[in-house]
Symmetry: C2
C-alpha cells in the first residue's frame, strides 16, 4: 500500500482524490495507492472521508508513511515552502503548479536529486496532454530545435469565438467568463502570462538549462480585433496565441509569446476552442504535435495521478535533473527575423519602398490595406513600420 | 561506455547508426553510447567503420560487453529467433518491427521480464511519433476507452492525393510508388494489413491483454473511389483509413481497420500526406492526439534510439510486462453499431422504408443518391443494404 497526500482540495486536488478513490492501480504498480491525508484551510464537513482533512501541514510532512505528495494548491507561497520541506523530508512531489515550476524548478529539481526523490510536473503544461514526458523521454535522441504551442485554453476559446462567430474580443471574453473558461480577472490568460510560464518550462526541458520566464517578451491577445481575424481568413490563416521558442545556431535561445498568423497547412491552425496543442521539432523526428484538453478537473488531475503512479511503480532511485540551475543565454529578441502581417493606411508607393513588392489586400477594411512582409529582423521591421504607421502581427513560419 | 549492436543495416538500422555516431548522449545518460557491432548479410566495403560489420549473429549474442541490441531487420524470421536468443542472453532489445511485436509480443515481453531485461518497441507504431510510451506512462491513470488512428502513411498519402488533386485511386497509387512512399507490391499498405498490426499493438497496450491481429476485420482502401471522396467533401468530411479499437462495457474489445468518413471537426480529418496521428480517449483525459511523421529513416530511427537511451539511463531492473499472454475476448464485429454512408441507385421510398427519413445527396453522381444512416448494428445494416443494393463506408463517431 502506497500512501499519498494531497495539498489543496480545489478543482485539480479534488480530481486527484476522485481518481485514486475510484480506480485500482494494483495491476499497474504492484500495490494499491491510498489518499491518506488532504491539506486544505477550508472545512469539508460533508465529505465522505472528512477524517482525511487537516489544516496543519506538519501532519503531512511528519507522516513517515506518506511517500508521495500531490501539490495542487497553485500559487508560489506557501506551495514553494511546502514543496521544499516535503522534498527535504524525503518525499516525492508531483504538481500541476506551473507558476512554481517556472520560478523555482531548478532549485526544486536539484533538491529532489540530492534527496533521491522526484519532483514531477506533467500537469503543469497542457493539462492532461502528455507533453513533458514525451519531450524528456521519447524525443531524447533528438535536439529540440523549435517549440510552438497553443498553451492557454482561455485565449484559444476567445480567438475561436472571434473566428467562428464573428464576435469582437470583448464579447468573446464575456462569453468565456460566463462559461467559466475565463477568470473574473482574466489578465493572466489574455495578457499571455500563463502561456509564458508554460513555454518557459517547455524550453527548459528542451535545452536542459533554466529559461527564466521574466526574460521572455510576452504579448497577449487584447489588441487582436475582428478585422485582424478577417484579414487572417483572407490569407488562409487563423490567429492563435503562440508560445514559441527556438534554439539558435549560436547556442542562444529565442523565445516569445505573441498572437501569430498560422497558415491552415500548419496543424496548430486547426486547434480550436479550449484545446491546447504543442508542436515540437526534433532534428531527426521533424515536427510532432501533442493535442488535447489543456485544462479541466479530470484531465489535469489524470496527469498529476500519472506522475504519482510513475513514482509508486518505478521508485525514486533514478532521478534525472531535467535542467541546470544555470540560466540559458537568451538571444536579443530584436535580432530575430519574422514575417509580419501589417495593416496600414499608407500608400502603395511608400509600402513598396519600405517592404518591397508585397501583395496588398484592400477589400477588408476601407481606407487601409493589409500585407505580409518577407523575413525581416524585428528591430528593422519596427523602425520601418513606425515610419509607415499601422498595426502588425507576427506570422508563424511553417 | 554502453556498447550496443544493430541487427540489419537497412534504412532504420542505418539511421540508428548515424544518430549514435553523430550525437553524444553523455549528458542525458551519464555514459557514452557506442555502436560496437552491426549484423547484416551484405558487405559494406566503403563504410567508414567497416570493421563493425559481421554476418554471424553469434558474434553479437556472445559478446558480453554488448548490453542493448537494436533489431531493425523487420520480418518475422530470423528476427524472432534472434530476439529470443538475445533476451535469453540477458541483453535488452529495442525494435521497429511491428510484425514481430504484433505476433510474438506477449512471449517476448514475458521472457524479457523473466530475464530482468527490457523489450521496447516505440518505433513499431507511428514511426518517430511518441505514442507507445505516452499510452504506457502518461495516460496510466486513465482507462483507454477508444483508439482511432491514421497508422499508415502510404494510404494516407494516396487518400490525400485523391482529395487534394482529384486523382483516381490507381493514379494516386502510381504517384506514391514513384515517390518511394509505396512499395512495388503495395498490398500490405493498401489492403490495411500494416495498419492492422499497429492497431493490434496499441490495443494490447490499452487493454493489458494480447490482441491478436488475425482477429481484427481489416479492409483497405482499394475500393475507395474519387466519387466517394466527392460525397465525403459534400458531407463536410474526409475519407481516412482508420485503425479503430474500443473497449465495450461488457469487457470485450471491438477492433477493425476500415476506410471511414471523418468529420472535419475531428482533428484526424486534417492529418494529410504521409503523416500519421493517433487519437486516444481516456476516461479522465478525454481525447488526446499524437501527430507526426509515421515513417522515414531518421524519424523511425530516433524512436529506436530513444528506447536504447532509456535502457542505458534507467537500466533494466523495472521491467513491466505491458500485456498478458492471455488473449482478450473480442466482440463479434457484426454486433457493433456504426453510422454508414451509403451510395445507391434505389428509390427514395425504398431508402426511407429501410433506413428512415435520411437526407439524400443527389447532385454528385447522376442516377444515384448518397446518404448517412443513424447508428445501426453491422449485421442489420448489411442485411438491409444488400436488399437495397449499393456501396457503403463507415462513419467515425466524434
Amino acid at each position: 500500500m502506497a500512501k499519498i497526500a494531497i495539498l489543496g482540495y480545489g478543482t485539480v486536488g479534488g480530481g486527484v482524490y476522485d481518481i485514486f478513490n475510484n480506480s485500482s492501480f494494483l495491476k499497474k504498480t504492484g500495490e494499491e495507492i491510498e489518499v491518506a491525508k488532504i491539506l486544505d484551510i477550508r472545512d469539508f464537513p460533508d465529505h465522505p472521508q472528512k477524517e482525511l482533512f487537516t489544516k496543519d501541514f506538519n501532519d503531512i510532512v511528519n507522516d513517515a508513511e506518506i511517500s508521495v505528495v500531490a501539490e495542487t494548491m497553485g500559487g508560489l507561497h506557501p506551495a514553494y515552502e511546502f514543496t521544499k520541506s516535503l522534498l527535504e523530508a524525503g518525499k516525492s512531489v508531483t504538481t500541476s503548479n506551473k507558476e512554481l515550476v517556472a520560478t523555482y524548478g531548478p532549485e526544486l529539481l536539484t533538491l529532489a536529486a540530492q534527496k533521491g526523490v522526484r519532483y514531477m510536473f506533467e500537469a503543469s503544461v497542457g493539462g492532461g496532454i502528455p507533453v513533458i514526458r514525451p519531450i524528456a523521454s521519447c524525443l531524447q535522441a533528438n535536439d529540440i530545435e523549435r517549440i510552438a504551442g497553443i498553451l492557454n485554453g482561455t485565449t484559444n476559446f476567445i480567438l475561436s469565438e472571434m473566428i467562428d462567430k464573428g464576435s469582437e474580443f470583448e464579447d468573446a471574453l464575456a462569453d468565456a467568463q460566463q462559461r467559466g473558461y475565463a477568470e473574473r480577472n482574466p489578465a493572466a490568460d489574455i495578457e499571455g502570462h500563463d502561456a509564458c510560464r508554460k513555454i518557459a518550462i517547455l524550453s527548459s526541458m528542451a535545452t536542459g538549462y533554466f529559461v527564466d520566464y521574466s526574460n521572455i517578451p510576452t504579448e497577449g491577445i487584447c489588441n487582436v480585433s475582428l478585422n485582424d481575424v478577417k484579414y487572417a481568413e483572407k490569407l488562409g490563416s487563423a490567429i492563435k496565441l503562440i508560445g514559441y521558442s527556438q534554439q539558435m545556431p549560436d547556442g542562444t535561445l529565442y523565445a516569445c509569446v505573441a498572437p501569430m498568423l498560422v497558415k491552415k497547412s500548419i496543424p496548430l491552425s486547426g486547434v480550436c476552442d479550449v484545446f491546447n496543442a504543442v508542436m515540437v521539432r526534433g532534428n531527426y523526428l521533424g515536427d510532432a504535435m501533442f493535442y488535447g484538453r489543456g485544462a479541466g478537473k479530470e484531465a489535469t488531475a489524470s496527469a498529476v495521478c500519472a506522475d504519482v503512479i510513475d513514482i509508486v511503480k518505478n521508485g525514486a532511485a533514478k532521478c534525472p535533473i531535467l535542467w541546470e540551475t544555470d540560466k540559458i543565454k537568451m538571444m536579443a529578441p530584436e535580432e530575430k527575423e519574422w514575417s509580419y502581417f501589417v495593416r496600414t493606411s499608407a500608400g502603395k508607393e511608400q509600402i513598396n519602398e519600405m517592404f518591397g513588392d508585397v501583395e496588398l489586400i484592400d477589400d477588408v477594411v476601407s481606407g487601409e490595406v493589409g500585407f505580409v512582409t518577407s523575413l525581416i529582423k524585428e528591430k528593422d521591421f519596427v523602425q520601418a513600420v513606425n515610419k509607415l504607421g499601422g498595426t502588425y502581427i507576427k506570422v508563424l513560419e511553417a
